[in-house]
Symmetry: C4
Subunit: 215 residues, 4 copies
């Protein structure tokens, strides 16, 4: 085997193996995406607002934007907790695992776009479906990362079976519920949005509620 071949193999073994840097990049991307969401909240201008009642009206008009803002913060929070939990169970990383996570982070950076789209066009089914596709791909990629990590034996071996089982179960159930909520857009897109927020609040809060904590 030639020297360059060995160099390549060695380089590929080293590449992307820092869990610390992957955590740092992920925290940064989630932090920027979560904060950029606020740019979708258009601040009422001096031209359109002359007094307190104008401003009250202008803030009322922001309610759809605020709802999608809140929903997207929940979306990002849920996937951040999910990715953090997965990374904390790894004993090491490698180049392929890093690239699956970069693909996941690509769709994290698209969340502010999907959010603005839905805030502007919340009554259109296509805007809701685009938002749902964003959540679907995020779920698929976090599951793909876990499945790959299990195959490549990156997890702490003692906990691997438990972790991969829990991740599969959570992703399948959550994604089924999101699909159901999205299908309700044939009735009204606002019904879909309300149900997605309810599902997300369940994931954020539910472990404290006995009947729901098994989801």
């Amino acid at each position: 085997m030639s020297q360059p071949d060995e160099q390549s193999r060695y380089y590929n073994e080293l590449a992307g193996s820092s869990l610390h840097r992957l955590s740092g990049l992920s925290d940064g991307i989630f932090a920027v995406a979560m904060t950029l969401l606020v740019l979708a909240l258009a601040v009422p201008t001096i031209q359109e607002v002359k007094n307190d009642s104008d401003l009250a009206q202008a803030l009322l008009n922001l309610v759809p934007s605020l709802v999608t803002y809140f929903m997207s913060f929940l979306t990002l929070g849920i996937f951040w907790v999910g990715q953090q939990t997965q990374l904390s169970q790894l004993e090491r990383s490698n180049r392929d695992y890093t690239w699956i996570n970069l693909a996941f982070l690509l769709f994290v950076t698209i969340v502010p776009f999907s959010t603005s789209l839905l805030a502007n066009h919340y009554q259109l089914r296509l805007a809701l479906i685009e938002y749902w596709l964003n959540i679907l791909v995020l779920g698929a990629l976090i599951l793909a990362a876990a499945e790959y990590a299990a195959r490549a034996r990156l997890f702490n071996q003692a906990n691997q079976a438990t972790i991969i089982g829990a991740v599969r179960r959570r992703v399948y159930i959550a994604q089924s519920l999101y699909l159901l909520a999205t299908l309700l857009c044939v009735i009204d897109t606002r019904l879909s949005i309300g149900l997605i927020v309810a599902i997300q609040l369940n994931y954020a809060i539910a472990p404290r509620i006995p009947l729901l904590h098994r989801l």
Copy 2:
């Protein structure tokens, strides 16, 4: 108890337990929010500014924006120091504590919006009240996080009584002062803004001033 149930319990124990990641996300969100504030300072355009005296006038017109900018940087600085101090006293985290902090960070990301709103409409009481509500919720959530951490025994047990006592005292006194300042908007909103800045400077600088350091 079924296998999936055990997986869920185990997963919930692991989820959100990394203090390091929570610090990383928090530093990122505070950093972006603090830097995004600058976007509220509209740079005078070439059309409106032809010479140095035009520019001097344009910069003078930015004074209300600069004051709210400074106030919001102080707001974010105070809450960043507060959260950092709290996290540094924890021995571990868990999923619920992480979600209380995510709720806190949601309202951190709203500070640039509240700041732009107040900079554009500083003479309107509703803009001031919206800003005060933002500070109020931040204070309530940082206290809620400390109370939860005490109940869930996340703090170093030796210091817990001292810490929770100090956090309660600081939040109650500071929030009473902010409320008082906000009520002064019945006279003039600029009076309220001036007093809020004075209270914040006290928290940033006061420990060096004997008479004030007990606040």
Copy 3:
């Protein structure tokens, strides 16, 4: 030798020697650059979109922007993995190495500009050439950093020959391929863009494909 001289020498030895801080700044800059790319995706406004088929058309019009978005995320991902791999092999840093990396990060921050330029003018050769120059300088600087680190003996000495050999080989081959792709703009700029994306996907995915993994 005078006292100030010694102070200067001592200060210069200390300056920029924290690998941890350089990683932190790099993760932050890559994270912001990757997320700012999304601002190049103009959200269709309420004025231009009245129903689902308007929105479908508006999203179709975004395809060139989406392609350059995807390409730039790959560009940044590849250079992030490259820099991370290099930093992970260093035993220490110094002021000069830090400044070479700051120059590298300067061109990372320009990627969102080059991306918007290409998204807006993807049919113009000059926009493509500007994008290619951005990639060229990034490659040149990551190689310059590795060459400097080798000369200054910053690498773990046991692996130095292997690492510097692999970095040279990768940069020379990748940059030759990018140059080739860019030259194809004499036929059609879209051909160039397609080939650049293919080369980048190769670097992200190829190690799993036997015939390509030697690149």
Copy 4:
């Protein structure tokens, strides 16, 4: 002494004492500020650019913006290296040191504003003076932080005299040179900008040049 008094003293001792968090926030703010600079580079629109020669002209028009962009990246890089070097020599932090650094970071977040102002109005003396004031305050605050750290014995005591001597010398010489460059605006603001960039390049590169390395 009362119980609340003890709580306050104890809380003030803990508050802001995490060097790790201060580094994290600083890296984040520098990263966002450095990347936001790119927003000052207006991407030529489709309306004004129809072909390659239009685009060449549009890019030429961006040269003043590019020069101020480059200058501001250097400014931020120099102060980032300076703060990093100072923090790396600390054995511990405290609340006052943290607040001096937060004041320093406030003026870091203003750099993108000063940059846009100068890029738009580079021929106006007031825009240059505002930019210089930004650099002046950054220098004053980094020196104030070092002086405070020396008085409060936060530095590693073995190196303290050397460090504080080097910091004073660097800040005084650099700020004298910046003042001199700024005064040249009575002749031409472009002369000032050119000299500031030359001084900054000296700080980034000079240690390798024998005649200049003592600055």
